[in-house]
């Protein structure tokens, strides 16, 4: 034990810590603003505008920037960062603001709003790529691509996240078990480094920078443009199977994913005894193959079979009837939104981006987006989900679990170094989000944070990983990744960002 375990220079690791740091005190702010204004960069300082950015989707961390800058182009961002280095001004970058631990909240300094850079620059039909500004939301990109009958490969279900923000953290879709995470779709990037250099990078050109920026939590540069893979648009044929147990649903999901059967797959629970396996296909042929070769191997029921089993369970457990009413209410409201008539044609979903994004906001959206997750290797997944399920039960009366596979790419191993991809995962990683249904209830921030940290703690205790929505959390990163990895990246960060101004407190 150090001579004084609570002195500032001997701070011990404590089991949890919210990223809610003390406010930056404003040194050199006026000189900094004057310099930027001389370069024709508009710094918005009125309280109303700054207040728009006071929290993120998590709604647990609040902070006011001293000023807001709307991103216009790489040159403007370069000037901003050069001066921020010179005057030691913290810069926090925000796309859709969908972080949940305050990573896109500025506790003073500059808030750089990337949504000002949201144009699609070029679609290349021959190489199947798109070049886009990085502040664009995924739904806007999807809309632009659809005009040319293309689609992106994978994007977060919540489509008001920005392309740049997603590439920095991961991005998981229902087709990630087949195509990998969203960050895997990036071919090359234009990045403004923390010292203001504008650099084009990819696995071939400035590879070190590319590897640090992809899944790098915004520590090594601001992504201003990205070239992404695209594919021809296809409608989606969706099927549901129902389970009474998480374990058998997860086993079936893994079986299908590892054999490459569905194009889209995931598990969504209404309760831990009402589990839905969703699988979908891009083509009638693949759908047919599934029904001919794989359907009978599944342990799930159809809607009628499951309904009968559920009814018999509650007939024998009448004191739990309120659960049944909840399930019926949930089914009545949720399922039509997953197959809305205006987005269906011949039984196929033709606008999956809209359907999923709307459903996510409508049924899981809340003023506090509370969606901690665990990411594990295939072997540890069931155990992790069951432990997380027990934590949910302890904290909330109703919650949803969402499980999905992520295909890992051996050639992208260098990208994953600082990411939440578990170190022991091979070929596939599996993720589970734990989403309390908060409805109209008000919970204190500490209560919600305690719940989230209890989930993250499972990840650390099981030597696996957690949390994809913005980072690994400063207080957890050493426990999660170990000192060696953290020291390596911290040393790189100190070289790349000498004044440590870019996205402070996110992981360093």
């Amino acid at each position: 034990m150090p001579p004084c375990p609570v002195a500032p220079d001997a701070l011990q690791g404590i089991p949890r810590q919210q990223t809610n740091p003390a406010r930056w005190q404003g040194e050199n702010w006026n000189e900094f603003v004057s310099t930027l204004q001389a370069d024709n960069i508009d710094v918005i300082e009125d309280r109303g505008t700054r207040g728009i950015y006071s929290t993120d989707a998590g709604g647990l961390a609040y902070g006011m920037p001293n000023g807001v800058i709307i991103a216009r182009d790489a040159q403007q961002i370069s000037t901003l960062l050069r001066n921020a280095q010179r005057y030691h001004i913290p810069v926090t970058v925000r796309g859709g603001g969908l972080t949940t631990e305050g990573e896109s909240v500025a506790f003073g300094g500059v808030l750089l709003d990337m949504t000002g850079m949201s144009r699609v620059l070029h679609i290349d039909k021959d190489t199947l790529t798109v070049r886009t500004e990085a502040g664009i939301f995924w739904h806007s990109l999807a809309e632009e691509l659809r005009r040319h009958n293309f689609d992106y490969l994978s994007a977060p279900l919540n489509l008001t996240s920005s392309v740049g923000g997603t590439l920095g953290v991961g991005g998981i879709d229902v087709n990630s078990a087949k195509l990998g995470c969203s960050a895997d779709q990036a071919l090359c990037l234009q990045v403004v480094t923390p010292t203001g250099d504008i650099i084009e990078c990819s696995d071939e050109q400035n590879a070190e920078l590319f590897q640090r920026v992809i899944l790098g939590y915004g520590q090594f540069g601001i992504i201003t443009e990205a070239t992404l893979k695209i594919r021809p648009f296809t409608p989606m044929r969706m099927h549901y199977f129902y389970y009474r147990s998480l374990r058998s649903a997860i086993n079936d999901l893994i079986l299908l994913d590892q054999n490459g059967v569905p194009d889209y797959s995931g598990i969504l629970t209404m309760m831990d005894k009402a589990v839905t396996l969703l699988i979908a296909f891009d083509s009638a042929e693949r759908e047919k193959t599934f029904f001919e070769q794989w359907h009978k191997q599944l342990h799930g029921y159809g809607e009628l079979g499951f309904g009968i089993r559920l009814a018999s369970y509650y007939a024998l457990h009448p004191w739990r009837l309120n659960e049944l009413f909840f399930l019926l209410r949930r089914k009545h409201t949720l399922f039509p939104d997953l197959q809305p008539a205006q987005h269906m044609r011949n039984g196929e979903i033709i606008d999956r981006t809209v359907v999923f994004s709307r459903a996510v906001w409508k049924h899981w959206g809340h003023k506090n987006m509370v969606i901690p997750d665990l990411a594990t290797s295939v072997d540890k997944f069931i155990d992790a989900v069951e432990k997380g399920n027990a934590v949910c039960k302890h904290y909330f009366p109703r919650y949803t679990l969402y499980c999905v596979g992520i295909k890992l790419r051996a050639e992208h191993k260098a990208h994953y170094e600082l990411s939440s991809i578990p170190h022991d995962a091979k070929d596939f990683s599996y993720g589970c989000e734990f989403e309390p249904i908060l409805e109209e209830n008000n919970y204190s921030r500490d209560y919600l944070q305690s719940f989230k940290n209890a989930i993250y703690d499972i990840g650390v205790d099981m030597d696996t990983s957690y949390y994809r929505f913005g980072g690994m959390m400063k207080a957890y990163i050493r426990r999660a990744l170990g000192d060696e990895v953290v020291e390596k990246h911290l040393a790189l960060k100190r070289i790349a960002d000498p004044a440590m101004i870019l996205n402070r407190n996110v992981i360093f």
Binding site: P8, I14, G51
Partner: protein
């Protein structure tokens, strides 16, 4: 008349936590403090691990000046008339020994709220859409300010609470706690622990620990008794039974009124309309009298509630009472015998320490605890405690209808 978003009365840890939440969300916040800052505060200064975590999370590492020596505490040791000691380490590791004069001032400054010290509250007038606060500065000047909300974070003898519920003070039993400081001749009590006595003859609340080279001997009793006599009785007991040899008490003794009951029987007082009470003014107090972690958390929740109330256009009392329920549950669980037996509500493991004793010793300790509890019989809390405990089991929560 100046108009701000929120006025917080008191410059305590609860005030700092509330101010942090409000300033972070961009609300103009002014703190009124009766004394000149940094101000002295009577307190053991032994913060619970949960409170320590809150400080680090929200204000950063503690400066050296905010700590007494020994700078940290490993846990709590319970003592009984049977003289069987029960040392228990905190689950969360060592915790700081706060120098409240400087730790509170440091947290207040880190919150970045505007502070008006040497300014006492004179009166409140809640006009529905705003609260007009009248205060008097030490210079004699009277000022008036308007705020959308007022938070009372001014301790057990809260002036804000008195302004909105003038009769409340007469409705609950009051205790006096006082501590004296002694030069040490010989003290076998382990200085890494906070020591507490379950001894009916010593008083309702008896403690001792080391601070800055001296030993604190503290006593708590029903208001009206004699502090000096009580204190002499305890020092004589410590010398006789524990071999604690101390010089006579130094002149810098201190004491204050305490409200032990509300947490125990779930009878909190959270304010009225646009005036919120928080910290110890509501009655929040952990078992063995640690109030700082409750103050930090409830203060933060008061601040959060105002932010939520403004963002969602909901009445602040409704939001506050929903959001504070988790803190009520956590605090009152600490006094709930069923939770103590089965739920591990404390930050040190009492049942485990108890089970580690031999069967004979365990019986002796339990008998001593029972005799100690009888000391509180006159307050008639037993039935209310049983009712609250039952509600907790049946409904999973404590009833908000009992709150003022």
């Amino acid at each position: 008349m100046r108009s701000v978003d929120v006025i917080i009365v008191g410059a305590s840890l609860a005030a700092a936590a509330a101010a942090k939440r409000l300033v972070d969300a961009g609300l103009e916040t002014v703190i009124l403090e009766r004394q000149e800052l940094p101000r002295h505060k009577i307190c053991s200064g032994i913060l619970s691990p949960r409170g320590y975590r809150f400080l680090i999370e929200n204000f950063g590492p503690l400066p050296k000046k905010a700590l007494h020596d020994p700078t940290w505490c490993r846990g709590v040791t319970f003592h009984f008339p049977c003289l069987i000691p029960m040392p228990m380490d905190f689950f969360g590791g060592t915790t700081p020994h706060l120098h409240r004069k400087y730790s509170d001032y440091w947290a207040i400054k880190r919150s970045a709220a505007e502070v008006m010290d040497k300014t006492s509250l004179v009166g409140l007038d809640d006009q529905g859409t705003r609260v007009v606060v009248t205060a008097r500065q030490q210079s004699g000047e009277t000022i008036k300010m308007a705020a959308r909300y007022v938070i009372g974070a001014d301790g057990p003898s809260s002036a804000v609470r008195k302004a909105i519920y003038p009769e409340y003070t007469k409705q609950i039993p009051w205790f006096f706690v006082g501590q004296k400081f002694h030069e040490i001749i010989d003290c076998p009590l382990d200085e890494e622990y906070f020591h507490f006595w379950f001894h009916p003859e010593l008083g309702h609340y008896t403690w001792s620990h080391a601070r800055d080279g001296r030993q604190i001997v503290g006593v708590g009793f029903k208001q009206g008794d004699n502090f000096n006599q009580r204190h002499l009785h305890v020092t004589a007991y410590l010398e006789e039974k524990h071999g604690v040899k101390l010089k006579p008490a130094d002149p810098d003794h201190e004491g204050c009124a305490e409200n032990f009951g509300p947490s125990l029987i779930n009878k909190y007082i959270f304010g009225k309309d646009n005036v919120l009470l928080t910290g110890q003014s509501t009655g929040f107090l952990n078992m063995i009298g640690e109030g700082m972690s409750c103050a930090l958390h409830s203060g933060a929740i008061a601040g959060e509630s105002i932010v939520e109330s403004i963002c969602r256009n909901q009445p602040v009392q409704t939001v506050y009472r929903q959001m504070i329920s988790s803190e009520v549950r956590r605090t009152t669980d600490q006094w709930n015998p069923l939770m103590i037996a089965f739920g591990r509500p404390h930050e040190a493991d009492f049942p485990k320490a108890l089970m580690a004793l031999s069967r004979q010793d365990r019986i002796k300790v339990l008998k001593d605890i029972w005799r100690f509890l009888l000391l509180y019989k006159e307050f008639r809390w037993g039935r209310q405690l049983a009712y609250s405990s039952l509600q907790r089991i049946l409904r999973g929560k404590y009833l908000s209808q009992r709150w003022l």
